[in-house]
Symmetry: C4
Subunit: 231 residues, 4 copies
Amino acid sequence: MRYEHIRQEAYEANMQLPRLGLVLFTFGNVSAADRSQGLFAIKPSGVPYDQLSPASMVIIDFDGKTVEGDLRPSSDTQTHAVLYKHWTAINGIVHTHSVYATAWAQAQRDIPIYGTTHADHNTVDIPCAPPMEDSMIEGDYEYQTGFQIMNCFAERKLDYREVEMILVGNHAPFTWGKTAAKAVYNSAVLETVAQMAMHTEQINPNAPRLKEALIKKHWERKHGPDAYYGQ
Amino acid sequence: MRYEHIRQEAYEANMQLPRLGLVLFTFGNVSAADRSQGLFAIKPSGVPYDQLSPASMVIIDFDGKTVEGDLRPSSDTQTHAVLYKHWTAINGIVHTHSVYATAWAQAQRDIPIYGTTHADHNTVDIPCAPPMEDSMIEGDYEYQTGFQIMNCFAERKLDYREVEMILVGNHAPFTWGKTAAKAVYNSAVLETVAQMAMHTEQINPNAPRLKEALIKKHWERKHGPDAYYGQ
Amino acid sequence: MRYEHIRQEAYEANMQLPRLGLVLFTFGNVSAADRSQGLFAIKPSGVPYDQLSPASMVIIDFDGKTVEGDLRPSSDTQTHAVLYKHWTAINGIVHTHSVYATAWAQAQRDIPIYGTTHADHNTVDIPCAPPMEDSMIEGDYEYQTGFQIMNCFAERKLDYREVEMILVGNHAPFTWGKTAAKAVYNSAVLETVAQMAMHTEQINPNAPRLKEALIKKHWERKHGPDAYYGQ
Amino acid sequence: MRYEHIRQEAYEANMQLPRLGLVLFTFGNVSAADRSQGLFAIKPSGVPYDQLSPASMVIIDFDGKTVEGDLRPSSDTQTHAVLYKHWTAINGIVHTHSVYATAWAQAQRDIPIYGTTHADHNTVDIPCAPPMEDSMIEGDYEYQTGFQIMNCFAERKLDYREVEMILVGNHAPFTWGKTAAKAVYNSAVLETVAQMAMHTEQINPNAPRLKEALIKKHWERKHGPDAYYGQ
């Protein structure tokens, strides 16, 4: 089987989504890229998770063209392609409609940084990109979704290598990472942070954002030059 | 065994309800119709899911009369019969008391279309029919429930082939589809959309409805003439 | 083994509590009575569910005295005994600290009848007894808890054969029934109704109570002389 | 294998965290101490639960120095060490980011004592220590977290042998006990009490705290000289 490595990686990462409670039916997809070949493997569209296999993954190039595969690729494939093409340090992308993260996207609010669970992964509020202009929607919608994500990062001067998640307003979350497995991990973290933030505001509508010293410390102990979190 | 096809279809669809977390005990029922025979198979009343079998399904005609079966059919059988009789394109109906959809029904509110998870399945708010008039309740209640559902669709000029779900005010949801399996799918989608919408309002009480361009795009990519969602 | 029937019944009913998600650790207990002997079997105190057996149940008389058993009976035993002694038509009692029902008890509010899920089981709001007077608490607390429950029913002119559940203010729910299995069923129904009612108010703070005609119809179809719900 | 007893105890207690739904990925850690040796065993940092074994636990002394172990210990190890050194009656400590307890920590509120589920375990509101001063954060952060916890107890005149849990503001909960298993039990109790308290306020924003007579009675029946709760 050709492209075996990314097929296997994409398959295993996709299968994590239902196990982590992040998807209902087929409402999610993961891709895994091989930069040396300029290709990625992605879940086929509308196929139930229990019928997936490495062989059913579809191979796509960074311009969004199908290279190999009998099944139609995920309808979000063009969004993945755009992000791989422009964000050259990522090798995995995940899209879900997980309940709490999607609720924040529908509420069109950034998720405020309320605690260290958030700060262990991000130093900023998790951004919510505004809904797209009608002209973008009516055109090549999924392709433009990729630009909507990149534009939001550009406007806010965020680095996609540091902040590996976003909410697309009225839609749902996207996450990414150096591997497909890391992108899935980020989706699960985002869902938990989203639920905690909603409950935090329910318990205290005036809850303050995390203080700067704690943001800095938690980020550095996990990601800084002297990181001591994890092996 | 006679009517084996619809017995099997109804049995399998009913068994999905507890797996999808949509029912407590026996609080739900699914039916599967065979239009060529003018009959449907429905769950017997009050029998636990783990004691069901294809043979225990009850066969009913579209006037609500029992054609075959030793057990009493679901108490909601007349509602199913009325809908099959008048909505001639459906072959499966589901009734549950799933928690979040039922909460919206009890709140007597339509579920606003807040995001693309909703728009992938409906272009309109999910309708909540008002509670029935006392005269309808005191008469043939379940039979009248079918008309309450159809009247709500008629008044709002909704097409049951496009919108496959409704909340009955103070009661609970009904869903339907071209197959029993599709009707079950719709019940699970409705429950998730109901939960997301509640959390959306909790996170932002002023959350706007989804913009028209997004409603149109998500519907068309899944249901339009050039649909590219699913296989 | 003596008293085998009620030991077995109490054991099986107790084991349903963790399966139904109604208890954390040992925070719940079920008893099963044999009226001909004037005895009931109850869970021992503080023993994890996975270490229970029919033989570990403790046999108690309706005055609360231990008749047989090496283990200490549930700390709520006196409440069970009082209820069996005065409410002569019940043969099973359940006490849990299930999350949503307990939240209503802590909020010291009756659960309003908002829909048919509630009406299928009760024609009235689920009563919340006020917290006990200090003198009752400082005396024989669990014994007095039984009277607090009965006093609440007497003051509101409720019949324990029709309403099989109560919240004890600041504490948690008790349910009962003609069998221990029915009492467990009632605990699960109560927990679901409690969650639905909380969400109903979150979705619509002005949600109206269920109209009388629906209360009457749903009760009669399940419990009236011409009941047609269940087999 | 040396230190087998505390390795085994720490391993088993750590494995309870995912089973009780208290952790996502590796967001939690348990330690088990042997006072006669002045050592404790703690989970290694960032290792998934399904890859843990007694042998992978790291052995640490009460000054926070690693005595045995190839893996890096949990990043929270210094907090554990400080608490073991100063609170000489505890032999187990747990740290999690469980959703509801963490939401209260992020809201920077004590959890009010609203009912008997809480009173069975604590006679006071569950304390939330304020976020640390910047100078403490910028120094030896995890070491200072231990002092932040102890300072909160000292200021409020709480006894760590009676109140076995705390929220660290903006961060998450810590619990402890005479054994690692008891500390895990306390983490699960705290999470349930946190969820119940949030829902209590949602159902009744003016819910009163539990009356003193009930606080005293529930505490005494479980912990007093004449305790009769549990075996």
